[in-house]
């Protein structure tokens, strides 16, 4: 969990917009959502769409695609549940770029942001046996490479990572 005082799942939130920048033709397609379920469903529909378009490299097997999907899901879920968008209309932009055996992903948002590295180390040190919470960011870290989250321009932050076909990730949860 990133922030205290986050709204419960049942609390209405402002609409969240997701923009899909297609890798094949670079045409921007805009999606707008009015509830939490729509956001996450739309993200998964996008990944299905990318797969159907044949965007991913041939070596990108289904399990690697599931890892990419999991990383995107966990991050967007984190934004939807905990990010502080202050008085701005929440916006999330997702961009993927296939690169050889890996796929680079950038997810920009207009929230207030937070220190990802510090949060990761805190969660790592506090992970209890069979934890009920606190695994999401660690899952993202485990199944990605070159993970970073930083301010990119005024009012925007960007999560960047790569998912590689060569990975055999492991998140060491205490049992």
């Amino acid at each position: 969990m990133i922030r205290t005082g986050a709204p419960s799942l049942g609390t209405p939130r402002p609409p969240v917009s997701t923009y899909h920048l297609s890798c094949s033709d670079m045409d921007a397609v805009t999606y707008r959502f009015s509830d939490l379920n729509a956001v996450i469903e739309r993200v998964h529909t996008l990944v299905d769409h990318w797969k159907a378009e044949g965007i991913f490299p041939p070596v990108f097997e289904d399990d690697t695609l599931h890892m990419l999907r999991l990383a995107i899901h966990e991050w967007v879920a984190n934004l939807v549940q905990h990010a502080d968008f202050q008085d701005r209309e929440p916006q999330i932009l997702i961009d993927i770029v296939p690169n050889g055996k890996s796929v680079h992903c950038a997810i920009r948002d207009n929230s207030a942001g937070f220190d990802l590295d510090t949060n990761l180390r805190i969660r790592e040190s506090m992970l209890e046996t069979l934890p009920e919470r606190g695994m999401g960011l660690l899952m993202i870290e485990a199944c990605t490479e070159h993970l970073s989250y930083s301010r990119v321009e005024r009012g925007w932050h960007c999560l960047e990572f790569s998912v590689s076909a060569d990975q055999d990730p492991w998140l060491p949860i205490p049992f």
Partner: protein, 117 residues
């Protein structure tokens, strides 16, 4: 007779064992509902849970956490939580977290039922 909730159906096998068909997703959107459904069953005396993941495309960290919570509830009662018919997206999470060391897996619900009853 199976009892459907918004996301899950609960099918009694006997007084101590139920099959929970997870459906499309177990994630941050419905994990609370899953926990409530399981707690209701534990209050009724159920100790063994067969989780059917055959149709499940999404298992996220919150969903997995709710399964850990169930495990912590029933293991002191000598109960079990087992996975059946695990889909590939769920298997990726199981492999990532090595939770196959905690939850026995069966290729089908029938195989899990035979092992537990």
């Amino acid at each position: 007779m199976p009892v459907s909730t918004m996301s899950f159906s609960v099918e009694p096998v006997n007084q101590e064992t139920v099959i929970i068909r997870i459906g499309k997703a177990l994630d941050f959107r419905n994990a609370s509902e899953f926990k409530s459904a399981c707690q209701d069953q534990v209050r009724k005396g159920v100790r063994n849970f067969i989780l059917d993941f055959s149709d499940t495309g999404i298992l996220d960290s919150t969903g997995l956490g709710s399964i850990f919570s169930l495990y912590r509830q029933v293991s002191p009662l000598e109960g079990q939580v087992v996975f059946a018919s695990v889909s590939r997206p769920v298997q990726v999470v199981v492999q990532l977290t090595r939770t196959y060391k905690v939850f026995r897996q069966f290729p089908t619900v029938d195989a899990a039922r035979e092992a537990l009853v």
